[in-house]
Amino acid sequence: MKEILTPRERFGLLVIDEKPDRCNIIPLVTSHSAKVKGVKLRDYYTDGEIMARAQIAAIEEYGHDAISIFSEVGIIAEAMGSEFDYPEDDLPVLKKPILAETNIDDISIPNPEKDKRLPVYFEAIEYAYQALGDKLPILAYVPAPFTTGMMLSEADKFLIQTIKEPEYIKKVLKKSAEAAIEFCYHIINAGGLPILVDPLASSSVISPKTYKEFALPYERAVIDFLHRYDLDVILHICGNTTPILDLLPETHADLISIDRVELKTVLEKLSKHLRIIGNYDTSKLLFSSKENIANEVKNMVKLGMTAPKGYIASTGCEVPTNATKENVKAFIKAAKEANYL
């Protein structure tokens, strides 16, 4: 079926409470696009043009509804001083967190135009915006303060410090939030719509109490900044977020992207006030059959489309780098078909 709306028009209708021709379909096609384009991952996350070209190749291959500019969640922490290894065909790996040897007071807010790989984002956004920005939203994934904070530190030490030295951790988080806001500011001016991602604030990692005290206020600070620009903000938290579902409206996010949570539960709790994004199990894109994916996605979309404030069909997390093209296509085809039934 020929589609009359562009993804940008479709997304525009969603965020203004109008019903588009079908639901937006935005699986988290991030580094997987490097495989689609046939480029090494290291080139993908160190060269903005390559990242953009890979994203465009994925759009051409799959026909989903947004460009996703993202490498990994350490990008702000690296610009603040943490060291990362760049494997040739894998994502960057934290090698030496800056707070292992430096006090937070001695760390400055990075300059997104110059520091480490932050400029890669702008290069990618500007290239993609120029190429397809009139037809697709350009989403730029920004690590939230809690996740950045953990990438500045040794993870176990950071978590212990939330109990033993909470004020110090809040100082770290405040600085991380300032860095995220500065990064968002530049993303907006390049034409990207920032998405806040906070995988390490998942209930699979921290308790609801820790989330409420150490993650949520800083997510909200970034989101409030974006609301000054009237932007519709997506918050994505990986893993299980069932225990914190009731807290999510307090983040002020407009769209909630969920992972390992019962979609039905999320719809019951949140969908009257928030738009819902999710949440197909990404491991199935690796290991399941096309037929199975098609069946499950259709059911998911049918359920998701009952959300009164709107729904975006997506994966619960990033599409695995090595997922087969056939399986990703099966996801998208099934999501489109479910809409037209």
Binding site: E9, D134, D224
Partner: protein, 495 residues
């Protein structure tokens, strides 16, 4: 101006800034102008830097439909660029609060129309007549007029062929005027909501536009047509005709006035049927409000175009002039914005400061440019727009208030450029040329608009005492180096 819609209803509480993080300079005076810099034209990034200085409470002061829950619009150009208005990356804007309000409000229109419908207002498409039917619509409480025709700017602000390509697929290819993007917008239902009523003028109107509206009707929209008579004074149709003169000194057969009264009453009756309201006093009030706006715009134009140094850029002035047609779907807020613009311009003129160099070359602009960047370019090349003929002069003149309102509307409309001779169109510009106030004239033709092709030559001939540059505005993304060179060479000849 239309844009891709944005934003959903959001609890106002959620927009409160956590000042702890980033507000560096608190604005103490909330209502006043927080931007005290010297007037200048700035780009999108600089606007974002200025915007950072604003406290969130300040931003929250400005909203449409008097709804402070979801009606906020004071956002910088970057916001609209993120949602697809790609040309904003290349444009330059005035750096005043007045300009920020003007841009935020006009770019917000698409969202505003959807919100209007969602909040049980009636959204009425008023097409083609350019300035009169909206006055009737606005007389009915809760009724919002808008011009789908104005979608012709969207492909240019978005630097996109999306709408034009869709129009081609629907059978209206590039041989037709850019107004064909309105047809695609009707089809997509993503730029404005389905109107509750559609009025479209035909007859002495742009023929390409009329054809597009016929197609809109063919695709299932129920249109109420209004016939526009051709005004003519140099040769008489009927010997028995009695002639009248408009308040702009243009002659017309008296029976045309009667004819228009009948057409406008048809609009009134349709609106009365839709709303169940039939109170002619409301029309008188609507005329009064419209006149208030028209007087204000006239003062803005006069002050701006006659000032020693240009106090406001040509691009913003075009947006202001077109706001006269229907107040960008919220005339009350638009009036307030125009008051701010006027205050800003007054202050600048008083101080002898402005946005262009004092020796900028005065030029007149004929036809609104489909591509806004041309206005920027000409100013960058040392030009200054001091007179315009945007074929909407009927929307700029005052409407009589001491006669029967439909007759007043008819008389006002009979000033329209679109229904008169070429000679009348260039009359005012010719006067300015003769007074030495205009050194050159730029005509921006609309590619595919059939009347342009014939009229441009006539205008050139009538303005033979002044250099005239005629440009065919190319499709979006089509501003070539060759076109820039032509503009540059033209401006050089005027120096």
């Amino acid at each position: 101006m239309n844009k891709t819609p944005r934003k959903h209803e959001r609890n106002r509480e959620s927009t409160k800034t956590n000042a702890y993080f980033f507000v560096s300079s608190k604005i103490s005076c909330l209502r006043g102008n927080p931007f005290t810099e010297t007037p200048k034209k700035i780009d999108l990034k600089e606007w974002s830097r200025q915007f950072q200085k604003l406290d969130t409470d300040f931003i929250n002061q400005f909203y449409y439909y008097k709804n402070n829950d979801w009606g906020r619009y004071l956002f910088p150009p970057a916001t609209f660029m993120v949602y697809g208005a790609r040309q904003l990356k290349h444009l330059k804007f005035d750096n005043s609060l007045a300009s920020l309000r003007l841009w935020g409000f006009s770019f917000n229109e698409s969202e505003r129309l959807f919100r209007a419908k969602q909040s049980n207002r009636k959204v009425i498409a008023t097409m083609g007549d350019l300035g009169t039917v909206p006055i009737i619509v606005m007389a009915f409480p809760g009724c919002i007029p808008f011009y789908p025709d104005c979608t012709w700017w969207t492909p240019f602000f978005n630097e996109s062929n999306v709408l034009l390509d869709r129009a081609s697929e629907m059978g209206v290819p590039e041989a037709s005027c850019f107004v064909r993007s309105a047809l695609a917008a009707f089809d997509k239902k993503a730029y404005f909501p389905k109107p509750d009523l559609l009025f479209a003028s035909t007859g002495a109107s742009c023929d390409d536009y009329s054809c597009i509206m016929q197609m809109v009707e063919n695709f299932g929209h129920n249109i109420t047509w209004l016939e526009m008579p051709y005004r003519r004074h140099s040769a008489k149709y009927l010997v028995s005709d009695k002639y009248q003169t408009t308040n702009q000194g243009l002659e017309y057969p008296e029976r045309f006035e009667d004819y228009l009264v009948t057409e406008y009453k048809k609009v009134w009756d349709k609106m009365a049927e839709l709303t169940g309201i039939n109170d002619i006093e409301l029309l008188e009030q609507s005329i009064k409000k419209t006149n208030r706006l028209r007087r204000l715009i006239e003062k803005i134009k006069k002050l701006t175009y006659q000032a020693e140094i240009a106090p406001f850029p040509a691009l913003e002035m075009m947006v202001i002039e077109f706001g006269n047609l229907y107040g960008y779907a919220d005339i009350d807020e638009w009036l307030d914005i125009c008051e701010t613009v006027y205050e800003t311009i007054q202050e600048r003129v008083k101080k002898g400061i402005g946005v262009l160099k004092p020796d900028a070359i005065p030029i007149a602009w004929v036809m609104p440019t489909a591509n806004p960047i041309l206005l920027n370019l000409v100013e960058d090349l040392g030009g200054r727009v001091v007179a315009t003929e945007y074929v909407i002069n009927q929307a700029l003149v005052e409407i009589e208030q001491n006669i029967e309102p439909f007759r007043a509307l008819a008389r006002s409309f009979l000033n329209a450029s679109l229904i008169g001779s070429t000679e009348e169109r260039v009359r005012r510009i010719k006067e300015k040329v003769e007074q030495g106030k205009v050194k050159g004239v730029i005509i921006t033709n609309m590619l595919g608009a059939s009347h342009c092709a014939m009229e441009t030559k006539l205008i050139e001939q009538m303005l033979k005492d002044v250099p005239v540059l005629s440009i065919d505005v190319p499709a979006p993304l089509g501003i070539t180096e060759q076109l820039k060179t032509r503009l540059s060479a033209f401006m050089e000849t005027l120096k």
